[in-house]
């Protein structure tokens, strides 16, 4: 027999579950009342989980967003191309920009004084602008072309591979700006089919640029790491088994995914299809 106190607690806990779910679902509905951006991405920008990261018993599928940063370092080197989701120090994220993003002069000075990578300075959450297949990607391709023409120590075939990868395989999605005000950013980047805003983090770091220690900003992470694939689009990815996809065996078939970003800058997949080879 349940006591009165137990019954009251049960009602309170049931209400808590109901309210929590309601808050989440209302938030989702609010996010989807308006589309702030719609990008048509491909297997280059949204990758299926690789086998080594796959959770063998996870029947869900989420595509990994492959965002990149065009580094400020103008020296061309082998590792400057193609690596996504590892962050970076872009040219535009300088001290002035960091101050505009809310970092105080004290924090920046502390980062500079440390003389290290500035890891001890915590990140701040800001709005990041993602550009798809735009001028920054073209600049990255140009950089890869210049690198492939360098008389460097690495052999020509490897340098040619880098160019080919940049042109045909690497993600074309770059972080190109940051800010705190979505309205102001939208005024600057009105093309909703090329630019999307997401929440992300930046951090001040010291970077030795030609032997002079400078405080620059490092794009640490983007809030959207993965985008869940709804059931109605799963057949597009039927080549992915439990445990992920092994890209070492063969490349994944090409596909196109339309990602819509809502009012709260949270994305969802609104369309998906296989692309022609």
């Amino acid at each position: 027999m349940m006591t009165r106190a137990s019954r009251n607690t049960l009602i309170a806990a049931l209400a808590l579950i109901a309210i929590s779910n309601a808050v989440v679902l209302v938030g989702v509905a609010y996010n989807r009342t308006e589309s702030t951006s719609t990008l048509r991405l491909t297997q280059r920008e949204l990758t299926v989980p690789s086998q080594w990261r796959g959770f063998r018993e996870d029947s869900g599928l989420a595509l990994g967003l492959q965002w990149r940063v065009l580094e400020a370092d103008k020296d061309l080197h082998y590792f400057g191309f193609g690596y996504a989701r590892s962050g970076g120090t872009p040219e535009w994220l300088d001290k002035t920009k960091l101050e505009a993003l809310g970092f105080t002069a004290t924090q920046l000075e502390k980062a500079r004084r440390s003389g290290e990578s500035g890891w001890e300075q915590p990140s701040r959450e800001v709005l990041l602008v993602l550009e798809f297949d735009g001028p920054v990607y073209q600049a990255s391709v140009e950089r890869a072309k210049r690198y492939s023409e360098l008389p460097s120590a690495r052999d020509a075939k490897e340098r040619k591979n880098i160019l080919e990868r940049e042109q045909r395989k690497s993600s074309r999605l770059f972080v190109v700006d940051a800010g705190l005000d979505a309205e102001a950013l939208r005024t600057k980047y009105p093309d909703r089919s090329r630019y999307a805003f997401v929440r992300g983090q930046v951090q001040p770091r010291v970077q030795d640029i030609r032997s002079s220690a400078k405080v620059r900003g490092f794009v640490t992470d983007v809030g959207v790491q993965e985008i869940s694939v709804p059931l109605e689009f799963r057949e597009v990815f039927d080549f992915v088994q439990y445990g992920g996809y092994s890209s070492s065996r063969t490349e994944s078939p090409p596909y196109e995914v339309t990602v819509t970003f809502g009012k709260r800058l949270e994305p969802w997949i609104s369309a998906a299809s296989r692309a022609k080879q």
Partner: protein, 358 residues
């Protein structure tokens, strides 16, 4: 006074057993002599009380039963964790095969259903062990409910999720007398307060661990809470708050005592390290003193362990590289002996004070 919980009833039964042993000893030593009628009246009264408690609360009547109860508690704990893990993996095994609407429905129904089942089991379970299992499953279902909605709809991760989880765990803990869930609720609360503290200072919430000082407000809240909320009906709850409060206060302090660069303080790293080392030693010593004074064995034990950890990390810093290993461990042993001597003196002092008060 009628006990209102199993813990109170068990404590009363243990006191009766202790009294019976002591009475028997006093009679054997000739200190006390009861008449047959008196002895029988006491025995009948105690037998009736113990039978009543056993009926109502399923208490342990003797030492053997107590040992079996310990086994049942361990089985209940491991069973609760295993069932919780099973629910977690069950969701992941099948959730991808359902539409979004079905996923939302399943998650919500699982939360609601497991909660209702917990309270139904509680109304029939005098021992509390099955209630603990059901309570853990209900908590995991609710955590999964919110976490997986976040995954399904690609919601930006937020520290606000810790708040309903903490509230849910606390509701279940207080209603079903479940200390395991109280601990889970406390951890969620600590995470929320620390993350909020971090965001108020301007950092991204998920990185709140990068600044150990973010945990101090949560530690303060945990240490003060049992002072303002009466836990007489929930024996064992107040010590859990105090122990978690001490850990939340001193473990971050230990980190800062070794890595001063992680502090918010805009001072030289060595000064920050020194400051937190002094604070750590003084704080843990003060905790031991307070625990002795207020008769909180949990605080005394936690304070001692933390003091020793602070001490030994300093010994390591100072001497590990420069001393031969045999000498280093010999010094550690000597310090342990010194601590024993100090505690013995403190205990003797405490006994003298008690005699003086009596």
């Amino acid at each position: 006074m009628n006990p209102t919980s199993r813990a109170e009833a068990q404590q009363r039964a243990d006191e009766i057993r202790t009294f019976q042993k002591e009475l028997s000893l006093l009679e054997r030593e000739g200190v006390l002599k009861l008449s047959d009628a008196q002895r029988q009246a006491i025995a009948d009264h105690h037998a009736s009380l113990v039978a009543q408690y056993a009926q109502a609360f399923d208490i342990d009547r003797n030492v053997q039963a107590k040992q079996l109860s310990l086994g049942m508690r361990i089985a209940s704990f491991t069973g609760a964790l295993a069932l919780a893990a099973s629910v977690f993996f069950l969701f992941y095994q099948f959730w991808g095969e359902f539409s979004v609407a079905a996923q939302v429905a399943i998650l919500t129904i699982a939360s609601l259903g497991s909660l209702i089942a917990t309270f139904l089991i509680q109304s029939r379970d005098e021992t509390g062990y099955f209630t603990k299992l059901a309570g853990m499953v209900a908590f995991v279902c609710f955590v999964l409910n919110i976490a997986m909605l976040g995954q399904i709809f690609n919601i930006t991760p937020s520290d606000k999720a810790f708040l309903p989880w903490a509230a849910f765990a606390m509701l279940l803990a207080y209603s079903c007398d479940l200390r395991l869930l109280l601990a889970a609720g406390i951890l969620c609360l600590v995470a929320f307060i620390a993350a909020r503290t971090g965001t108020w200072v301007g950092m991204y919430w998920l990185h709140f661990g990068e600044r150990p000082e973010n945990f101090f407000p949560a530690a303060l809240a945990l240490l003060l809470l049992p002072q303002f909320i009466n836990h007489l009906r929930f024996p064992g709850f107040a010590p859990i708050y105090r122990v978690f409060g001490l850990l939340t206060l001193f473990l971050p302090m230990l980190v800062l005592a070794n890595w001063g660069r992680l502090s918010y303080l805009d001072l030289d790293h060595q000064i920050v390290k020194g400051f937190y080392q002094v604070l750590g030693f003084a704080g843990t010593a003060a905790a031991v003193w307070l625990g002795v004074r207020r008769q909180w064995p949990d605080v005394v034990n936690s304070g001692v362990v933390l003091f020793v950890i602070f001490l030994y990390t300093k010994f390591y810093d100072w001497w590990w590289e420069i001393m031969p290993k045999y000498l280093f461990f010999f010094v550690l042993g000597l310090s342990a002996i010194l601590l024993l001597v100090v505690f013995r003196r403190l205990r003797a002092l405490g006994a003298k004070q008690s005699r003086g008060e009596a």
